[in-house]
């Protein structure tokens, strides 16, 4: 078998071996919030090296959107925050050495819920860094000084108060979505070595090599060009291996130890590294008796944990995604990214859409019930069409929401009999603005294509080979796509947001044209997509094109146990133009299954400020036995359309489709996951839905 994924030959970040490398272990705070008073390494075994506060005292802060993180925490802001680190010849020795380090703490009051964190008198997590606008790494971040709000996104369109006053029916409800853990099968793995010329070389599982390089340059006080980031393929990531995670630590350990250092996390440590943002979303929606939407207000509290990471971006995306693909004259969104003393939350497949779409699309069904209207009909009446303006002011083009919705409804025979069935439509954006560049070189056997798109199972290398083959007139097998290397790959914003097939496809077109217009030996192409939103008004261009999908679910409920059985789950995803059919199918199937996990099974739990159940037995992710009776999907294409990313689209609509199916049976749920206990509770107590 020639495919290295099948014959066991593939090398992940976890498998990188740098000669002479030692292994790392971390000393983590047991307290949710505590000042580090002293770190005593006097009992450290000989033949090991410790990274202590004095070793990193002069280093800068880092963070992809707010620079609120330090290499070692001098104030621990979550139970698990790293306060010291150790390197030793083996992992076992490093772990034993870490145990020998004594840390004295002064405990501080902790806040563990985003609403509590914005309440009067809440302890401030970042009194001197995160709340300062000067620390904002990007001009679009809006921290609120003197609070735990590290970003506030607002969108204002029309006059919502007037709109609600003019509405015949107004529905309001509050929804909650628990945190989730990405649980990539391969844990986080990073290795660092310093070269004789003083350059730093990193081999790390990352989706964001250039962001990482920039962050480290700032933290370590060296020029970006003095840092090389090599990104081997990852055994899954789903957003967890983004921005700076272990890289600053292994770099500093390697410098102190005078030898390469590698870190591979234990499974339990994954829950202490990055999770998905829990959120509370309050929706208020007003409509006329004919079902025309008039006004919508969203208030969102997005729990970003101890450090902002990309919480501001997630809060923004969550905010506008919750408006939904609808024509609504009056809209107000207020979305807050809030610090809590829990592990940091960051990028997770769906990037905020899952949380707000749950709230928004469940509310549509509540509204339909109040109006005495079919949920399908209510949506059809209001869906955006080509030429309509979205609430951001941008004009919609290449719009296929109705087609996706109809396809999903048809798949479960919704119009024939809606009992036990639920629908959901998704509007999701692609990272805007962004930049992608790619380089093509002729080789004796074909071509070499260099770009910074990172492989995590989504099949980006295969897509690049297929697109390259088509443009260059060769076989895909003749094209080599090496691991991203910041020394030789041209700049790319990052491998997130389901943007790579689309952006690299366009850049490749430019590069091949460049190659053909030159000597035929090499070509370079670069493209941008311009736009962005004003964080105070929400106006501008959220996305240069839209990710569009719909899901339908048909469920049965065991009224004794509350167990939900999904008989049929269908997703209709707009692809524009499919590049790699099998790859696209896998993205739909994988997204749907992950959505199922969010809908029914997954929640990051904590008690007394400690994350609990940090293992794959207590935290259940879907296995083959959890598949719905039927899982089907379709890829919708359109003549002449550009390739639309679909690495995420079939995930966010799944929970609301299932939730709406349960609602049709009288089980009104507002909280994810829809565990058996919550379903039983909804049956007995009506779950408080107004």
């Amino acid at each position: 078998m020639s495919d290295p994924r099948l014959n066991g030959g593939i090398r992940y970040a976890q498998d990188v071996e740098l000669p002479g490398a030692w292994q790392a272990a971390f000393v983590r705070s047991p307290h949710a919030h505590a000042r580090v008073l002293s770190v005593d390494a006097s009992a450290l075994p000989s033949g090991t090296v410790a990274l202590l506060p004095e070793d990193v005292a002069g280093l800068g802060r880092y963070g992809c959107q707010l620079k609120d993180q330090a290499v070692l925490a001098s104030t621990a802001r979550f139970a698990g925050d790293i306060v010291a680190a150790v390197a030793a010849p083996t992992r076992r020795e490093a772990q034993a050495a870490a145990q020998a380090i004594e840390v004295a703490y002064e405990e501080l009051p902790a806040v563990l819920d985003p609403l509590a964190a914005v309440a009067e008198g809440a302890p401030l997590l970042h009194p001197d860094s995160g709340s300062s606008a000067e620390d904002a790494a990007s001009i679009g971040v809006r921290p609120l000084a003197g609070t735990n709000v590290c970003h506030r996104f607002r969108l204002l369109q029309g006059d919502v108060e007037a709109g609600f006053a003019a509405s015949a029916v107004v529905v309001e409800e509050t929804f909650r979505v628990a945190g989730a853990q990405h649980a990539p099968m391969e844990p986080h793995a990073s290795a660092a070595r310093w070269l004789p010329d003083g350059r730093l070389e990193l081999h790390t599982g990352t989706q964001t090599p250039f962001n990482l390089r920039a962050d480290l340059a700032g933290a370590l006080g060296i020029e970006e060009e003095r840092i090389r980031v090599v990104a081997p393929p990852m055994g899954g990531s789903f957003g967890s291996k983004t921005f700076t995670r272990l890289e600053a630590l292994v770099a500093c350990l390697a410098r102190k130890a005078g030898r390469p250092v590698k870190a591979v996390l234990d499974r339990a440590e994954e829950w202490l590294t990055l999770n998905r943002h829990p959120a509370v979303v309050r929706v208020r929606i007003g409509a006329g008796l004919d079902g025309a939407l008039v006004a919508k207000q969203l208030d969102c509290w997005v729990d970003t944990g101890a450090y902002a990471d990309c919480g501001p971006g997630v809060a923004t995306k969550l905010g506008y995604s919750g408006i939904g693909p609808y024509r609504i004259p009056h809209v107000r969104v207020d979305s807050l990214a809030v610090y809590t003393n829990l592990p940091p939350n960051g990028a997770f497949r769906g990037y905020g859409a899952t949380q707000s779409v749950w709230a928004s699309e469940r509310t549509m069904d509540l509204l339909a019930e109040r109006l005495g209207m079919s949920p399908l009909e209510l949506r059809r009446r209001n869906l955006l069409r080509d030429g309509d303006r979205f609430a951001t002011g941008e004009v919609m083009h290449d719009v296929h929401f109705e087609e996706c919705l109809q396809a999903a409804a048809d798949a479960v025979d919704y119009e024939q009999d809606p009992r036990g069935k639920g629908l959901c439509v998704l509007l999701k954006g692609m990272q805007t603005p962004s930049r992608a560049a790619i380089a093509v070189e002729r080789t004796p056997v074909g071509y070499l294509i260099r770009c910074a798109s990172c492989e995590m199972g989504q099949g980006v290398r295969e897509s690049i080979r297929l697109m390259g083959a088509e443009l260059l007139g060769c076989e895909p097998g003749q094209i080599e796509v090496p691991d991203p290397d910041s020394d030789s790959a041209p700049y790319d914003t990052r491998t997130t947001s389901s943007r790579s097939t689309h952006m690299m496809g366009r850049a490749l077109r430019e590069a091949v044209a460049d190659l053909h217009s030159g000597d035929g030996e090499q070509g370079h192409g670069e493209v941008q997509n311009e736009g962005g939103l004003d964080p105070d008004t929400g106006q501008g261009v959220a996305s240069t094109h839209w990710h569009q999908a719909a899901a339908a679910a048909h469920v049965l409920v065991d009224e004794e146990t509350g167990e939900v059985s999904v008989e049929h789950l269908h997703a209709a995803v707009y692809a524009g133009r499919v590049v790699d059919r099998l790859g696209a199918e896998l993205q739909n199937e994988g997204s749907m299954i992950m959505g199922l996990g969010t809908a029914l099974m997954e929640q990051v739990e904590h008690a007394d400020g400690q994350v609990t159940g940090t293992n794959l037995s207590d935290y259940n992710v879907p296995s083959i036995g959890d598949l719905p009776g039927r899982l089907t999907h379709e890829l919708i294409e359109s003549e002449g359309a550009e390739a639309h990313g679909l690495g995420e689209s079939a995930l966010p609509p799944v929970p609301a489709a299932i939730g709406n199916a349960l609602a049709s049976l009288g089980f009104q749920l507002t909280e994810l996951p829809m565990t058996a206990e919550r379903v039983l509770d909804a049956a007995q107590h009506g779950s408080g839905v107004r």
């Binding site: 990539p184 199937e589 794959l616």
Partner: protein
């Protein structure tokens, strides 16, 4: 301590600590197709065949494998229908869980040449795939059964 076993048909002498697992020992030998993942034997990414039976390498002390046959994905016979069926169905994305899936499926088909969908799900329930390839994995197993 020295543990002697057969790895993919080749006699191997391993120097190991008593508390070491078969997974750790194999990784030290450079076998990267078995992967440390959950540490508690629920995910299947460290699956090996021990005398033909799928086991989690992280749950087997290396001493227990003494004198026995250990098979990893590299050691499956060339005519095993499972790997080509996985290739044809494209039953993988990142590939990390794939060796474990292939070994378990291969063992299933030797035991039950024509498994029902329920039997496939029961056999593979201990192999997690976070990329969510189960639909195509089940398809691949059916293809291999039909081959």
């Amino acid at each position: 301590m020295t543990v002697e076993l057969l790895l993919n048909g080749r006699r191997l002498e391993l120097e190991a600590e008593p508390a070491e697992t078969l997974l750790e020992a194999l990784r030290r030998e450079g076998v990267t197709s078995v992967r440390p993942t959950c540490g508690i034997g629920v995910c299947g990414a460290c699956t090996v065949l021990l005398d033909g039976e799928p086991v989690s390498g992280c749950l087997v002390f290396v001493a227990r494998a003494a004198g026995r046959e250990v098979t990893t994905v590299e050691g499956l016979p060339a005519d095993d229908p499972v790997p080509p069926a996985f290739a044809e169905a494209r039953a993988f994305q990142c590939g990390y869980c794939t060796p474990g899936m292939v070994l378990t499926a291969s063992s299933l088909l030797r035991e039950q040449p024509h498994p029902s969908d329920d039997e496939i799900a029961a056999a593979l329930g201990g192999n997690l795939c976070r990329c969510g390839c189960y639909v195509k994995i089940a398809d691949a197993v059916r293809r291999a059964a039909a081959a």
